[in-house]
């Protein structure tokens, strides 16, 4: 049983390491490009809106796929964040309210 758990199939290890290589490529690729080439101010303006835009692009479909429970909890997170500016409180409130709303709705 223990030898089963510790077994490493060479092919599996190969595929896993290839996955790791591909992932590292995606993680460093973007910054590698922008570090290498001098960027115009115009391009940097585009780069500056990326963080907010990515956050919204992650959130939009995620919340659109959710239901009233997720939307309610999302509102709770925003209100707590706005009132307290504490990410920890906002997280706890969000997770507790999503569990609560799911039980209720």
């Amino acid at each position: 049983m223990i030898s089963d758990a510790l077994s490493l199939d060479p092919l599996v290890v190969g595929v896993v390491l290839a996955m790791a290589a591909v992932t590292v490529l995606t993680k460093v690729g973007g910054i590698w490009i922008v570090r290498r080439f001098e960027l115009s101010e115009r391009f940097e303006a585009g780069l500056n809106v990326l963080p907010g835009a990515i956050v919204i692009a992650v959130l939009g479909p995620e919340l659109a796929n959710g239901g009233p429970a997720e939307w309610g909890a999302a509102a709770v997170v925003l209100v707590v964040m706005w009132r307290t500016e504490s990410i920890l409180l906002a997280l706890c409130a969000g997770v507790l309210s999503v569990v609560g709303f799911r039980a209720l709705l």
């Binding site: 290890v13 595929v15 835009a53 997280l91």
Partner: protein
């Protein structure tokens, strides 16, 4: 409170009277009637401790070099949104701050790690193989999809192409860090990016925008994620089907909550309106039409493109 030497005696009296009042209130509230002598001070320090623990995760205990004062610690000052790469440092302080700030989030990541471990186990991976994948790939969504694709023989091309597609968003996230990472060495930047995941990227953006200047925050927070992700994978893979569904505990909402909190802080008023609307519209449409997680990349790129075009206006 101002202390005037002439009224000092009076203010002392006044103070002690008020403290007695507070003591009475405090005692009444907590149901403790005795020990009136010392509870005044205790009551005060308690309320102070409560105030401070409100933003507990952002505080680093025992450091005298906090860049922000007590009253607004953990708050992002919206005036310092423009990065000043000269002040970004890379050291233990940043690693520790990142690690501690990320711990509560990493705990949630652990919930997912258990789910991944269970799935990997069901797909036929050994505990060691699952742990190796979590330790070297460090990208939750792509790992979960990969073990869902897993079969005998392994569809290698499909697994690798899907992994690439799902993780391509990290290129954009990494590029977004460049304004702060400008003067850090390549080894520090690329080393930190290895442990970049959605959650700690979000926390890192938040920290860097606050002007804290911790270049090693990504590495520290990423290590917290890595630690919980790998250990939870092992637990999940060993436990097999014993653990239930993470949605039951609301773990699936943590990622959305982290991003919502970040969105609340990234909002810069009117200037955010156009790029955010573009990102939202493109992402929602793309999520319907394009498989995988391309919608994140498309939404982000569309917003950046619009901003590049609008630049002169």
């Amino acid at each position: 409170m101002e202390i005037d030497p002439e009224t000092d005696a009076y203010s002392d009296q006044e103070r002690s009277r008020r403290e007695t009042d507070e003591t009475a209130e405090c005692a009444a509230e907590s149901g403790v009637v005795a020990e009136t002598e010392s509870t005044g001070a205790k009551g005060k320090s308690n309320s102070r401790a409560e105030r401070e623990s409100d933003d507990g995760a952002e505080r680093v205990p025992g450091t005298g070099t906090e860049p922000e004062s007590d009253s607004n610690s953990g708050h992002v000052s919206r005036t310092s949104a423009n990065p000043d790469p000269e002040t970004v440092t890379f050291g233990w302080e940043g690693i520790r701050t990142g690690f501690l700030t990320c711990l509560p989030v990493a705990l949630g990541v652990g919930g997912y790690g258990i789910a991944f471990g269970v799935l990997a186990n069901q797909a036929g991976l050994s505990v060691a193989e699952a742990a190796l994948m979590s330790a070297t790939v460090v990208a939750g969504a792509s790992q979960i999809v990969a073990v869902e694709l897993w079969a005998d023989p392994i569809p290698i091309a499909a697994v690798l192409v899907t992994t690439f597609a799902i993780n391509l968003r990290y290129s954009l996230m990494g590029a977004a860090l460049q304004p702060w990472f400008k003067h850090l060495s390549a080894a520090k930047v690329y080393g930190s990016l290895f442990v970049m995941a959605d959650e700690n990227w979000a926390l890192t953006m938040r920290n860097l925008r606050s002007g804290a200047g911790y270049g090693a925050f990504l590495l520290g927070s990423g290590f917290a994620v890595w630690l919980f992700w790998v250990s939870a994978t092992v637990i999940g893979a060993v436990a097999g089907g014993v653990v239930g569904d993470p949605t039951e505990y609301g773990f699936d909402f943590i990622l959305a909550a982290v991003f919502l909190a970040l969105a609340a802080e990234l909002w810069e008023g009117k200037s955010s309106l156009v790029p955010w609307t573009v990102a939202l519209a493109v992402a929602i449409v793309a999520a319907e039409l394009v498989p995988g997680r391309w919608y994140i990349l498309l939404g982000g790129l569309a917003a950046a493109a619009v901003e590049v075009i609008r630049y002169d206006q």
